[in-house]
């Protein structure tokens, strides 16, 4: 088990490095110019030269990259030209909102999705239809539009929740939850459908396996077969999908945090794009990639915990 963790970590650190490098070089090679983008077309040549110098753009790309990398290894991702503060402290201050949102949405999607999926695998009523309908809504209604509809209904028409804004957990737990309900629901809807479908399909697949027949033939009651044996085997593929849903929610924050004006990484990335603040966006890329890698690692560990065969190989 420990060796498995060690191997996974050893494989994932280089991945973060490769992605960060790729992004940096991509930004440098694109036929655009951050200084020009920041200043607009009416800047004087002197202003332009000064800004290029202060951004380091007058040096060769590889020199800049090496410089950036050196600092990055010491946990320094540079200073934001727009916000004027170190990128890492800016990003760290935005982590709480993003984590509350993404973890909340994944937990909600997981709980409802697994419940719905189990119920429809065991054929309780017409729940299969509900799952299909949710899948359609999840696909067709983009999250920014869904979020706005929820705002129109639950924040404007009946003022149940705040339309925008974020209250930190430390200042008021109740308000924290109230400020998160609408964005969490917005992010969770597509995930519910995906998780429900996977739960249903893999439960049905496991229930057709020979060992379930053996257990039934040995007289083990249906309840124990479903909740103890089938669920555990089915959970292996559900864990994978929950990991994917988490990553999709992370990408979803870019739009959802903008709709609900939440002070998170996704919304920050959009503002940084508008301000052509490259160090900040590159920082978000590094943070997001690290989170994705960490989640994949957790999914692998869940695998090992659920499936003894993974542990040995």
């Amino acid at each position: 088990m420990l060796r498995l963790v060690a191997r996974r970590v050893a494989l994932s650190v280089p991945l973060v490095f490769v992605v960060a490098t790729g992004t940096y070089l991509l930004a440098g090679l694109l036929p655009g110019d951050a200084a020009r983008a920041i200043l607009g077309q009416y800047a004087t040549p002197t202003q332009y030269r000064q800004l290029r110098h202060s951004l380091g753009l007058d040096q060769p790309l590889l020199t800049r990259y090496w410089h950036w990398l050196e600092h990055a290894f010491h946990g320094d991702l540079g200073v934001s030209p727009f916000y004027g503060i170190p990128v890492t402290s800016l990003l760290d201050s935005r982590l709480a909102a993003t984590f509350s949102l993404v973890v909340g949405a994944t937990v909600v999607a997981g709980a409802i999705g697994i419940g719905l999926g189990m119920a429809s695998a065991l054929q309780w009523g017409r729940l299969g239809r509900v799952v299909d309908l949710l899948a359609l809504v999840g696909l067709a209604v983009p999250n920014f539009f869904l979020g706005l509809i929820l705002v129109a209904w639950f924040a404007v028409s009946i003022q149940l929740f705040p339309a925008t804004g974020y209250v930190p957990l430390s200042s008021s737990p109740v308000e924290w939850i109230r400020s998160l309900v609408l964005p969490v629901v917005t992010l969770a809807v597509p995930g519910v459908a995906v998780i429900a479908k996977q739960t249903r399909d893999s439960m049905l697949e496991v229930m057709a396996r020979p060992f379930v027949r053996t257990l039934r033939a040995s007289g083990i009651p249906q309840r124990s077969i479903v909740f103890k044996h089938v669920l555990r085997s089915a959970a292996i593929s559900v864990a994978t999908v929950i990991g994917l849903v988490f990553i999709a929610c992370l990408s979803g924050t870019v739009l959802v945090e903008s709709v609900f004006a939440l002070p998170g990484l996704g919304g920050l990335a959009v503002q940084a794009t508008e301000k052509h603040d490259l160090p900040v966006i590159q920082g978000v890329v590094v943070y997001f990639t690290a989170i994705v890698v960490a989640v994949n690692l957790l999914v692998d560990l869940a695998y090992a915990a659920l499936d003894p065969r993974v542990r040995v190989s």
Binding site: L15, V18, G22, T23, L26, A27, L30, P31, G32, D33, A34, A37, L136, L139, A140, V141, P142, F144, F145, L148, A152, V156, A163, A208, P210, F211, R213, T214, L215, A217, S218, G219, I220, P221, Q222, H229, R232, S233, L250, S251, V254, L255, S258, V259, A269, V270, A272, T273, H276, D277, L278, Q282, V284, V285, F288, T289, V292, D307, R309, V312
Partner: protein, 645 residues
């Protein structure tokens, strides 16, 4: 179950078959047809926007801002009094162009790379797969933001970047499809004949993987539109006066407190268009799956049950039978048609007796056993017949009542020992669970009995086995564990479905002698399903030979071997290596078991029978008794006896 397995022959014709057929099938689905019609209409009105739009999309009417729908403005006006309908029509141009750009990039990059990776394999494949893995680990939308920060307001560049980031998914799909085809005979033949690779890929491989490509392309179009409207909503791609669908939603969001309506026209168009792309992709996938299964499974026509057939009864000492099965029939339900898989089977099992159910794969022997145990898979159901246990009718019991018989009265051992154990629990915990269910004892006592059971099935080091999981055991050990599980409830009848088929020959005989010993010690009755005469000779008292869903002969084992009374039994015996006369050539029976639904009307074996005469094919043949414990389903039995006398 073997009776229903689709033919594994996959000798598809290499031609680019059925493309027009696929299209026709697609258009027959109302959802797909509607989606396609909607998309075409949308493309037409967007391109023709200057002709069909009622207003200039930038014309402001400040006297009439935020108006609801009216005859002047069918969908109302926005914050500057501009006509919403006109802006949607013009906005469609940008959105649809972006979708086309994104899809074009994905196809242009993903298809060639996927073909190359799948066709050549090796280091090219390894490098491409690794790159795909890295790209998939990046949250794509953030990377596009990087691009938009350097090249501001350029939606074309953003869509190209989005397309590139979406490539790995298509690459993987195309690669997988190509891998499957690469090994096909005609591709291999083309390679051997020296055709250039490029030609083989374009002429022979590409047409076969076009299906998955179209599906992925359609689904990617849906994602591209979600993405395009998203960045337009954020205002990252165009100035405010240029109409875009996403931008219109963004504008509506600023006045959500005063006017909700403005949100819906643009939002609904976005949702409907995404839905259309998604539905089209799903429908295409269904059509392709249907096409593939249509070419790989044989058509199965339904047969009507032959109720005119006199109920076949085998009189075997009627008294004190443990299990009595009468006129059992099992059918496969497919839409409205029923296909019989087991058709009128009757037999008994006496206490302490071992009865063999014998026949080739697909004759219905396993289905018969599963029907008795109520372990039929969902697609099969028992449609006729009675099953009695010590005189008690089992078919009348509810599922819950029947469950009380499992393990404690009727037990079951399956063909594949390893898959029949739960891979995620230890052997000990599975055994303990079953023991506790039957004995209602303490955990400690149950553990002790679990170890005793493992010792009973002659496993060395039972404590060690109890701590192991299924994948850590050999096949023979796993089968012993499965037998221990079956014995945990002290059953009176053990149904063993080919218990030794998956095992090595030496292990086979060990398992058989274990079963024989257990039987002597506990008085267990065994119903043994097998196609192996060696097993029958080794352990069975009586054998029942099945063919095409029916019993064709029953007899005591010795009689059956010495004087078979049905040509099928004869054929099976002659084709068995260890039973054939020394020095004589082995004769293989011609043909195979007809699949359910294709059974002949008369004697079902007649087409393969060397004794067949025209009368055999005329009417169904009844099972008739030859003596108290013998029966055969052959009208020429006297001649066969004469020949072999």
């Amino acid at each position: 179950m073997t009776a229903l397995a689709p033919s594994s022959l996959e000798l598809e014709t290499p031609a680019t078959r059925a493309q027009p057929g696929a299209l026709r099938r697609l258009l027959r689905q109302p959802a797909a047809l509607g989606a396609l019609a909607f998309l075409i209409l949308l493309a037409v009105v967007s391109i023709a926007a200057p002709l069909v739009a009622p207003y200039d999309p930038r014309a402001q009417d400040l006297a009439r801002v935020l108006a609801g729908p009216s005859w002047h403005h069918l969908l109302g006006t926005d914050t500057l009094g501009r006509d919403v309908l006109s802006r949607i029509l013009y906005g469609g141009r940008r959105s649809l162009l972006s979708v086309v750009e994104g899809v074009a990039v994905v196809l242009a990059v993903g298809v060639p790379l996927g073909l190359v990776a799948g066709y050549f394999g090796g280091w090219i494949d390894r490098i491409l797969s690794r790159v795909a893995e890295v790209v998939l680990a990046i949250p794509g939308i953030i990377l596009v933001l990087v691009v938009l920060a350097v090249v501001p307001n350029n939606e074309d560049v953003a869509m190209v970047a989005f397309g590139l980031l979406g490539t790995p998914v298509l690459l993987r799909v195309v690669r997988a499809a190509t891998l499957r085809i690469r090994e096909d005979l005609y591709v291999a033949a083309a390679r051997v004949s020296g055709l250039p690779h490029r030609r083989i890929i374009i002429r022979h491989v590409l047409p076969r993987v076009i299906g998955p490509i179209v599906v992925q392309g359609s689904l990617f179009a849906a994602y591209a539109l979600v993405f395009e409207t998203g960045i337009a909503f954020l205002g990252l791609t165009a100035d405010a006066s240029t109409p875009t669908w996403g931008g219109m939603v963004g504008e509506a969001s600023t006045v959500i407190q005063q006017q909700e309506w403005l949100l819906f026209p643009s939002g609904a168009v976005i949702a409907a268009t995404i839905l259309a792309f998604g539905l089209l992709g799903d429908a295409l996938r269904d059509v392709i799956v249907a096409e593939q299964s249509a070419t790989t499974t044989r058509p199965r026509s339904a047969t009507s049950p032959d109720h005119a057939l006199s109920p076949s009864r085998v009189a075997v000492a009627r008294s004190r039978a443990l299990l009595e099965v009468r006129d059992l029939a099992v059918a496969h339900l497919d839409g409205n048609s029923e296909t019989f898989v087991v058709d009128g089977v009757s037999f008994d099992v006496q206490p302490g007796e071992t009865v063999g159910l014998v026949g080739e794969s697909g004759c219905g022997k396993s289905v018969t056993a599963h029907a008795v145990l109520r372990l039929l898979p969902a697609e099969l159901h028992q449609c006729r017949g009675n099953v009695q246990w010590e005189g008690r009718e089992l078919t009348l019991l509810g599922d819950r009542e029947f469950d009380t018989l499992r393990g404690g009265t009727l037990a079951y051992v399956s063909q594949d020992p390893q898959p029949s154990l739960d891979p995620t629990f230890t052997i000990g915990s599975q055994l303990t669970e079953v023991v506790r269910h039957h004995d209602r004892c303490s955990r400690k006592q149950a553990k002790q009995r679990a170890i005793d059971l493992l010792r009973l099935v002659e496993l060395p080091a039972p404590e060690q086995v109890a701590r192991a999981r299924a994948h850590e055991l050999s096949g023979g050990m796993a089968q012993r564990v499965a037998i221990a599980l079956a014995l945990a409830g002290r059953p009176k009848l053990l149904v063993a479905d080919e218990p030794t088929t998956a095992l090595d020959v030496t292990v086979q005989s060990e398992i058989l002698s274990l079963l024989r010993r257990l039987q002597e010690e506990t008085g267990l009755a065994i119903l043994l399903i097998t196609h192996n005469w060696g097993v029958v000779a080794d352990i069975c008292d009586r054998a029942i030979v099945m063919y095409a869903g029916q019993i064709v002969e029953t007899a005591a084992v010795q009689q059956l071997f010495d004087e078979p009374r049905h040509p099928y039994t004869l054929g099976l015996l002659e084709s068995h290596p260890s039973l054939a006369e020394h020095g004589a050539a082995l004769t293989a029976m011609r043909g195979g078991v007809p699949s359910p639904g294709t059974w002949p009307d008369g004697c079902r074996f007649a087409p393969r029978c060397r004794y067949a005469v025209p009368e055999c094919a005329q009417a169904p043949v009844a099972l008739h008794e030859l003596s108290e414990s013998r029966a055969t389903r052959c009208i020429r039995v006297d001649e066969i006896v004469a020949v072999h006398a």
